[in-house]
Symmetry: C2
């Protein structure tokens, strides 16, 4: 498994770089999904489930992290192509870093490429990575007040995946209130409550991903 | 309740500023505790419990956040002095920002002052705030692999509070393995598994805080 180190881009034109990367990937029929969340929200577990369920689609994964390669190793064990991206202490991925990661991944056959961004609800929301879709995960144990505290993340996301719904009986988490708070910030946001453990809700999310890939 | 806005300090000498703030507070008999964690790990719930349990100590709280005042409102409802600090989008508190917060708090009688840092396991670990103790919270649902992914946070912390232990039956979280991983990075780190909900483990944490305050 490849591990690459990327530092912050020197260019000041991140938005332009991101738009260019998006267009190049679209031309190759590749949909990149920027996956953002807090640490421990279950990004890698969700990805593992998607890889198993969507076996008709070629999926590759770029795991960005400060350190370690545990996530990429988990993904590779499922047979999907994965690389680990070390961000040199940076708390987010920008478009230049993402381009370096896509080049290191070097997989023109991949149709869905997930970028697992650094675990953090703040900085990743501030940088366009060049992804075709932004998807955030909020896990039930984190609490339904997060849209109030991290509005930019909810504003920037095309989809909100509410993960670990199997834990709903043990936490005071109001699904309806959380979805409502997210929609107040971003009326277009799609909300998918799921449990990657039990499979509950995964079908709707997977159908939406396939639909977006077909329309891309 | 006061809400203040602080931006990044202009000074390049954060370590010097932090040391000076620490000495000034020590001279006033005030122990500042820098509380760091992911979003949703239960920082405010833990603080609420500490305020109720440690009624013999005068506690004040500075809640740093990008937006909203929900945390400070929860603390004030318990009768403790609290201010909300908005970080102008910054993902951490530095010593200059913390000094501005301490001045805005304006409470010379407070003995324990908690700084609830921005919810994030990366950036807050990189800046000395001037606190006398660094305490991090890792909640059970986040997973026991976090020391592998965010080593600096564990290296910088005097204490690791493992929160939401009441959720242990529902998550694959190995307390011993997590503590071992943390101690490998930081042999001096104190580990306190607690549930602020049931009260389990709170006594040890509270005894340690009182001991550190007495020795300060």
């Amino acid at each position: 498994m490849k591990i690459i180190n990327v530092g912050a881009s020197v260019t000041a034109s991140n938005d332009k770089d991101a738009a260019l990367l998006r267009e190049e990937m679209r031309a190759r029929g590749q949909l990149m999904i920027n996956l953002m969340s807090s640490p421990g929200s279950g990004k890698t577990t969700l990805l593992s489930r998607l890889i198993r369920d969507l076996s008709e689609v070629k999926i590759a994964v770029m795991e960005a992290d400060i350190e370690s390669a545990v996530d990429a190793e988990r993904i590779e064990a499922l047979g999907a192509k994965a690389i680990q991206v070390h961000t040199d202490g940076m708390c987010h991925m920008d478009a230049g870093m993402t381009r370096a990661a896509v080049e290191a991944l070097d997989d023109d056959a991949a149709q869905l490429i997930f970028l697992e961004n650094v675990g953090n609800l703040i900085c990743p929301a501030e940088y366009d990575t060049g992804a075709g879709l932004n998807m955030m995960i909020l896990s039930v144990p984190e609490g339904d007040d997060k849209p109030l505290k991290y509005p930019l993340m909810f504003e920037q996301s095309d989809a909100l995946v509410i993960s670990k719904t199997d834990a709903l009986p043990y936490f005071a988490f109001d699904l309806e209130k959380c979805a409502e708070r997210a929609r107040k910030l971003n009326p277009q946001i799609r909300v998918f409550p799921v449990s990657a453990k039990t499979g509950e809700g995964m079908e709707d999310l997977e159908a939406w991903l396939l639909e977006r890939l077909a329309a891309y």
